[in-house]
Symmetry: C2
Subunit: 349 residues, 2 copies
Amino acid sequence: MTLTSADPVTDGPGAVALLDRTRTAVDPQIRSTVETLPGSIRRVAMYHFGWEEADGTPASGQAGKAIRPALVLAAARALGAEEARAVKAAAAVELAHNFTLLHDDIVDEDPTRRHRPTAWTVFGIPDALMAGDAMNALALRLLAEDPHPASAAATARLAACVIELCAGQQADCAFESRGPREVSLDECLAMATAKTGALLGCSCALGALYAGAGEEEVAALDSFGREAGLAFQLIDDLIGIWGDPERTGKPAGADLAARKKSLPVVAALTSGTAAGEELAALYSRTELDARAVRAAADAVERAGGRDWAQAQAADRMGRAVEHLARAVPDLSAAGDLLALAEFVTRRTR
Amino acid sequence: MTLTSADPVTDGPGAVALLDRTRTAVDPQIRSTVETLPGSIRRVAMYHFGWEEADGTPASGQAGKAIRPALVLAAARALGAEEARAVKAAAAVELAHNFTLLHDDIVDEDPTRRHRPTAWTVFGIPDALMAGDAMNALALRLLAEDPHPASAAATARLAACVIELCAGQQADCAFESRGPREVSLDECLAMATAKTGALLGCSCALGALYAGAGEEEVAALDSFGREAGLAFQLIDDLIGIWGDPERTGKPAGADLAARKKSLPVVAALTSGTAAGEELAALYSRTELDARAVRAAADAVERAGGRDWAQAQAADRMGRAVEHLARAVPDLSAAGDLLALAEFVTRRTR
């Protein structure tokens, strides 16, 4: 099936339907591409995507929300392309995203992903690492082999984005080992832009490239995705502190208990306020109990970190829409892109 | 400087000069490409290539033998191309090779590379892993951004090769945990083809593509490189058992002490001979002392593993030359390719 721009979605449930339809359009391409991998690599990839159990028996798992492929297709449609022509580009960004997940889970030592044990815990680090490497090359191969005229520009752009994602993940890891006063807000924003904004921007840019858009429109779509991505990260960080455990599946204050240098936390730490000093003292401890976590959340709030993050998220969404309007002056053609941006920034509030 | 086909090298010292000239032609491209990486990733890459110390001060290290770039340039020349046009392709294969080294060193827990501590021991696993990921994308980006008409085909081909390299490394790791009778010779040959032959073949194929060669010539050059690569691996495995410690820098029998399932060893283990049984019994031990290592080497020899590997290496070189003759009927134009193949198969005997 294909999606048409005649049916833009403008609210949450609409975005959910859009994501469902994206999976229907793109999953077969992702799966047939993954199935070209050599057997030993393929089984790790099939497990990671939730299509197989560890022993190779079929599974009907959830392969992720498909936000990035949905952005590719929505951007292509907004600029007048037939979305069927951009399906390979949509599959490529999802493959690139999943390569980073495979490697991030190793580096972060995360035990679960999408409610299942992570690939490295099931197959061991060498197999998960090699599967990620192969998936990185597979994403770029899919684009390079696509006979579409935008193929070369899209391949180069996705490769540049992957490099940025790696720098973002590297910075995120490096922050962990630095003291509570040793990360500036600018560094933290740059990290979030590289780690989260870059691939959302690249997804929109690839959709534009596949619609035959010019450089300025492509750049505007990239900026739209980046700003929306940063808004998403800010909201995600707020959820990591004040999210409802019943809706997020994580205990309240999980990011604080892990002493994570998320955006609201760094805003508080660098606020120059007494509450910021309290937070720094709490973050200097080796462990935070439930009471200390509550005190830390309170300190972030009093230091202005919560308000700052909420205002920043709104500001970033405003900038995102401005960028979008440059490329798509009649925003009614961009309803799906706006719905997706709205969706990712309020999904679990 | 550029290399000309007017000066083919036909012996060892000639190949050495050819490699020196390749480095002069290609290193500036590799370095300027690495210098486009974000700072945190760049410092790991600059260290890995031997251009910087861990603290960022300049170093004048050796960045590897440049066999793969030399094959790209020699293949391009053999098929009538100006080698200057293929320099980016030559740099790309060397970047891809070095991405695999960064990750292989993590997976194999190797402490040294080119007489220096490996990147993961200096910068930690997360940084080395991310630097490898970025270098994988960088190699493909360099090809995708090259305005040469062969760019797209070359990008797709290198990406496919990277996937094969990953499968080869995965198989190599998997062999380690299997019993001495549980790896067949065919599996072992397939692993060596994927891990060593694929990139040598791809290097030659990229040179052919950049010379505007047709599909059959490109395939013939790929087969030439693959067969030469397998010959190289067979000789390397013989050196790992009977190499002169003074020339190899490793103790005699190093591969046997590590109970490595190299090609001559697997040939012996699967020979159905009494000596093969002796070797299997030795490989079932948890540790081999110097006396057991000598007994194992003797068993490989009596089981026919040494003769088989030597005959296979000669046979593979013969096949390599046959493939080459299909693409370059007048072999005098392919002198440099032959010299490089000869060089890699006898470099430390």
